[in-house]
């Protein structure tokens, strides 16, 4: 019988020296081709004696298998070394910049409107809107501010005609009237929007934003107003403790009226909301005046409640440390990109108001 070990070692020696696919093919033919070494060995099986045949075949098959494995391994080695060779030539400078892309920003006013809406949504307020151009009636008279009343001096008004009955709303409060007139109590709404006053300096802009709040139901008292605004201020400024002061004031459309101050201090040149011994006015509020309810066709014997108005731009300035109100509306791309928010930063309760 053939010396299979010897044959195997001969073959392996031959393969060992194969370094390219051409000689690989050639050697493979020498072994497995029509006249190949192993092919020839297989041909011999038929002529063998029955007693030898089994052992011969078994040894031959094992030889074939071993050789095949070596060939396969050789192929993998070829692939690997070809890839390795390729990789050597495929180095790029990954510190080079990539292709152009653009990231837009959301304006701080829009962001704060969404933040505030998210907060009030949690406690059952829904959003209402009203027109920017208003009648004198909705903006003043219906809100218990009759013509020739000095309280009108607090609002420098833009007019659209000389009879002064069409104007740009000076506050979001007319939305209270519109909402109550078109629906039935209870009402629990907020109304963010643009407001206008004929005033322009460092701290005043002829256009700014307000958020109106209105909650009318059968038993809503000033305690609810206080609780609601505490909740809001704490949530909005995202602070644990917050110092708030309700200070008596006067608005024709609420009674009692209050202005709300929050405590703050200046720390390392930055404003810190919620602590300290300085006070900052942030909003006006009060119990809706019975005359307003009457004008809005709500029975003030049965229903009562509170309203508030807060400056959105001012909230944005305080929370995000913005100094100049006028810069909000100047479309300076440097400012917008600096103070703007990523469009994916959608304020929500579950994901948090701000990052």
């Amino acid at each position: 019988m053939e010396n299979f070990d010897q044959i195997e070692s001969d073959i392996l020696n031959k393969i060992k020296n194969v370094n390219d696919r051409n000689s690989y093919d050639k050697i493979k033919t020498e072994i497995f081709g029509k006249k190949g070494v192993i092919t020839e060995l297989f041909k011999k099986i038929g002529s063998l004696d029955q007693s030898q045949r089994k052992e011969y075949a078994s040894k031959l098959n094992s030889l074939k298998e071993n050789v095949n494995k070596i060939f396969e391994k050789k192929l993998i080695d070829f692939d690997q070394s070809e890839i390795n060779n390729k990789l050597k030539n495929e180095k790029i400078d990954v510190t080079l910049p990539g292709r152009t892309y653009f990231s837009g920003k959301i304006h701080p006013v829009s962001q704060v409107i969404d933040e505030v809406t998210s907060i009030f949504s949690e406690i059952g307020f829904s959003v209402e809107e009203g027109p920017d151009v208003e009648n004198e009636y909705y903006n003043f008279s219906a809100l218990n501010t009759p013509e020739n009343h000095p309280a009108r001096d607090m609002h420098d008004t833009f007019y659209l005609n000389h009879s002064k009955d069409l104007l740009l709303r000076t506050h979001t409060s007319p939305v209270q009237i519109r909402t109550m007139l078109k629906g039935k109590p209870p009402f629990k709404i907020i109304a963010p929007g643009r407001t206008y006053r004929h005033d322009s300096d460092q701290t005043h802009s002829p256009m700014f934003h307000q958020l109106e709040g209105l909650h009318i139901d059968k038993n809503i008292n000033m305690g609810h107003l206080k609780g609601c605004l505490y909740y809001f201020v704490k949530k909005f400024f995202e602070v644990e403790k917050v110092k708030i002061r309700f200070r008596p004031s006067h608005f024709p459309f609420t009674e009692p009226s209050a202005e709300v101050d929050i405590g703050y201090k200046i720390q390392d040149g930055k404003i810190k909301i919620g602590e300290g011994d300085k006070w900052l006015e942030i909003l006006g509020c009060g119990m809706v005046h019975p005359n307003v309810l009457k004008n809005a066709k709500v029975n003030s014997k049965l229903y009562q409640g509170y309203a508030f108005g807060v400056g959105i731009d001012r909230l944005a300035m305080l929370k995000y440390g913005i100094n100049d109100l006028r810069a909000f509306f100047e479309s300076d791309i440097r400012w917008l990109e600096f103070y703007g928010f990523d469009p994916l930063d959608i304020p929500t309760n579950y994901r948090g108001l701000s990052r």
Partner: protein, 800 residues
């Protein structure tokens, strides 16, 4: 309203210090805005001595004065007054001082070539006399040099912001009363006045009985043989502490009473009154010169205080120079009157006059204070100037409009959230001047005459809460219950659209709702622009009818700062008319400049129309409009480049307008001096986005996919250039809507090898069989149909 602690103490017994008083005032709604040490501006004026005068070398009428202001060095001042002379004591204003009359801030200035460090003041400039001739001559001594001319007491003052409902607190006594109600002290009684008034007021007063008569009561007293003079130091200091200037004892006394009791008075030089006082409605065209040295021409029906010769002054607003008191005045008529708020306000608005008296009358003066005012004013004048007073003459009468208010203590609890005892109610309201009577469950309350704001029970409830303290109101935590969706469909759409635009790389701008009419008209189809009657400036004179106006004005500022590659958008209202609701919500977006600049990896290229089209489509997709429903045509507006812009409509080219996109018209870019030639934009009409009746999950068909291989075939045609790609795509799609899944243009070419007026267009068609694998002959069949259809309908030829 300005006050000091010592003045308050005239009316209030209290041990509280200034800070405690200030804190309490703020707590009860009289907000102390600041506490100041003294009036800084008037501090600047200093007593000086002119040491030497010489003629100005370049001007005959000017003098060069060496002035001793007590600083050690002599100061050079150029002065034009004739009476400037060696040794004269005068009033010096240094550079930086603000001249009261003109409100001008002094600067070191060259006058005819010589620098003048400040000025020597005339009485006119200091607004203390109307004397324009010459500078003030002071009767002072060497030791006075360097002293403040307007001596203040050095006491701190509080500036209190008084809300329009509280006219009573425009007098110190009203503030003291509130403090006493709050428990911070005891209100003092007004000392009784005992003056012998023997003779009858010789000047007859009548209030004409006319419609719209602005005067209700006119009280007066005639004081004869007075000797007008400078006020004593204590009074001057009080007047200065208010930020006013002392003028004379008579005028200072009237001002004092106004601020002390909120009781405006007016003093006439009685000898200048022609026979009698007639309070009547003015006639159009009548005029008079007022104490502010301005001449006012009156309209009909203004409340004129007049005599036989004409108008003396406007009642409750301002007196006239004709009957004004002077140092030489001998006999005066002191007026204490009641004028109705509304006509006061109307008149002062029309004539644009604002005075301390007007401010008080329009808010409502105590109609019962006529005699109180005459008493105190008369007393002070007699004290300071001597003389003899007549009996009071009080003409006219007004109805007491006060009503008894029924207050139910229960209601306090219901509105405020905590309870209050009847005893507390009584204590607080009484200390505020109300009279109370308990009647069953109700308390009947009559408010005092000085509180026109107390009209119904809610007003009293506010008083009680305010004095009890807002900190007593409990805080009730809000319920976390949602009855209604927070946002409605339109509001959600707004929110989506806003974030969608920003996520395409645009930065959100928020710009004013008004804009420059000259710019807006370029982007508007309105027949009439929406003008503001009183714009803040001439370049913000109309309500915007397009979002482009302000975006492009904003872009221009950025481009001029060398930020030329911009992507800006705004979402918000544009206006179509001047009535409420004539507005719509839009997105406007612009891109300027280049997509990419000199860059190692990409070719430099401008932003182009297809950038805008893509963005507009993606936003519309994201807010719920399927691309297949958007029709594109080129019927655009005048502000777009006519050949490079498109209209997006819903369903068909005649459907509702969804938006526009394209290049801004080159002539607009040029006109606006944008310093770039590449400005593009899109507009989306959010109000035209229809609300789907179904939720997305309901509107989706069943999920069905084909198990059979899809096949893609390419076609190329030479076709007349008038045919748009959209038309060809639609044409091919229609051939077999079931089988043809997609038609995609991959090449469009005009130029060499293509005859003019024609273009080459290449597209591939994706076939997706539903029920069997396509065989070569099926594909061949569809291909033939595509070729023949395109050829037949457009005259195109297959490109070989």
């Amino acid at each position: 309203m300005i006050t000091s602690l010592s003045w308050l103490k005239n009316h209030l017994t209290t041990k509280a210090n200034l800070n405690e008083v200030a804190e309490k005032l703020t707590e009860i709604g009289l907000e102390v805005e600041n506490i100041k040490s003294s009036n800084n501006n008037l501090d600047n004026f200093i007593v000086c001595k002119i040491v030497k005068t010489q003629k100005h070398p370049n001007a005959d009428k000017l003098k060069l004065c060496d002035v001793d202001v007590g600083s050690g060095n002599l100061i050079k001042v150029v002065c034009g007054a004739q009476n400037a002379r060696d040794g004269l004591f005068a009033v010096y204003a240094p550079p930086g001082a603000v001249i009261p009359k003109t409100n001008m801030k002094l600067k070191v200035a060259k006058i005819r070539g010589i620098e003048s460090y400040g000025m020597l003041c005339s009485g006119y400039e200091l607004d203390t006399t109307s004397d324009k001739e010459g500078i003030i001559e002071l009767n002072k001594k060497e030791k006075n040099i360097g002293e403040k001319y307007f001596k203040n007491s050095g006491e701190k003052t509080m500036d209190i912001s008084i809300t329009p409902n509280r006219p009573d607190c425009l007098g110190i006594r009203g503030i003291a009363r509130d403090l006493s109600a709050s428990g911070l002290g005891q209100l003092k009684k007004q000392p009784p006045i005992k003056i012998s008034q023997k003779f009858k007021n010789p000047i007859k007063v009548s209030i004409k009985n006319e419609k719209d008569q602005g005067c209700g009561i006119f009280g007066s007293v005639y004081i004869k043989n007075v000797q007008n003079k400078e006020s004593p130091e204590w009074l001057k200091k009080r007047i200065i502490s208010l930020g006013l200037k002392p003028i004379s004892a008579i005028v200072d006394a009237t001002n004092y009473v106004m601020f002390d009791l909120n009781r405006p008075l007016h003093a006439y030089d009685a000898d200048k009154i022609d026979q009698e006082i007639i309070v009547r409605n003015s006639k159009k065209g009548e005029s008079f010169e007022a104490l502010d040295n301005k001449k006012y021409t009156l309209h009909n029906n203004m409340c004129a205080i007049s005599d036989k010769s004409g108008v003396l002054g406007l009642g409750g607003i301002i007196g006239g120079t004709r009957s004004g008191t002077e140092m030489s005045t001998k006999n005066i008529l002191l007026e204490s009157a009641y004028f109705f708020p509304s006509p006061i306000r109307k008149t002062s608005k029309i004539l644009n006059i604002d005075t301390d008296a007007k401010y008080r009358f329009e808010r409502g003066i105590d109609p019962d204070s006529i005699k109180l005012g005459l008493d105190l004013g008369m007393c002070m004048i007699l004290d300071m100037c001597g003389g003899e007073a007549s009996k009071f003459s009080i003409v006219g009468k007004i109805k007491d409009k006060r009503k008894t208010i029924d207050l139910e203590p229960e209601k306090f609890l219901k509105v405020i959230g905590f309870s209050i005892t009847n005893l507390e109610i009584k204590k607080i309201l009484t200390s505020l001047g109300c009279s109370l009577r308990v009647s069953g469950k109700k308390i009947k309350v009559l408010p005092p005459t000085w509180r026109p704001d107390l009209k119904e029970d809610i007003d009293l409830i506010e008083e009680l809460t305010r004095i009890k303290g807002y900190d007593k109101v409990p805080s009730i935590s809000p319920e976390k219950e949602n009855v209604k969706d927070t946002l409605n469909y339109r509001q959600k759409l707004f929110h989506f659209a806003q974030r969608s635009a920003a996520s395409k790389g645009y930065t959100e701008a928020v710009t004013w709702s008004f804009t420059d009419s000259k710019t807006d008209t370029l982007f508007s189809e309105l027949k009439n622009e929406i003008k503001l009657s009183n714009p803040i400036s001439s370049d913000l004179d109309v309500l915007r009818s397009s979002l482009y106006s302000n975006l492009i004005i904003g872009a221009k500022k950025n481009i001029h700062r060398n930020f030329e590659d911009l992507m800006l958008f705004e979402i918000g209202p544009v206006f179509k008319g001047s009535k409420p609701g004539e507005q719509s919500t839009m997105i406007g977006a612009i891109k300027t400049g280049k997509y990419s600049r000199k860059n190692w990896i990409e070719k430099e290229r401008n932003f182009d129309v297809f950038d805008m089209k893509n963005d507009a489509f993606r936003i519309l997709n994201e807010i719920g409009i399927d691309s297949s429903k958007i029709a594109v045509s080129n019927n655009t507006k005048k502000w777009y480049h006519p050949g490079r812009s498109g209209l997006l409509t819903l369903g068909s080219p005649n459907g509702p307008e969804l938006g526009y996109f394209g290049e801004i018209h080159p002539s607009i870019i040029k006109k606006l001096d944008l310093r770039t030639d590449n400005v593009l934009g899109f507009e989306i009409f959010l109000d035209n986005i229809p609300q789907s009746r179904k939720k997305i999950r309901e509107a989706k068909p069943q999920f069905i996919v084909s198990d059979y291989q899809k096949v893609v075939r390419d076609f190329a045609f030479i076709i007349d250039e008038k045919y748009s790609s959209g038309e060809i795509i639609n044409l091919v799609k229609k051939i077999d809507k079931e089988l043809i899944k997609e038609v995609k243009i991959f090449d469009v070419y005009q130029g060499e090898n293509i005859s003019s007026g024609k273009k080459s267009i290449a597209f591939n068609v994706t076939l997706e069989p539903k029920d069997k694998t396509l065989e070569e002959k099926d594909i061949e069949e569809v291909s033939k149909k595509i070729i023949s259809t395109v050829q037949d309908k457009t005259g195109a030829t297959l490109r070989s």
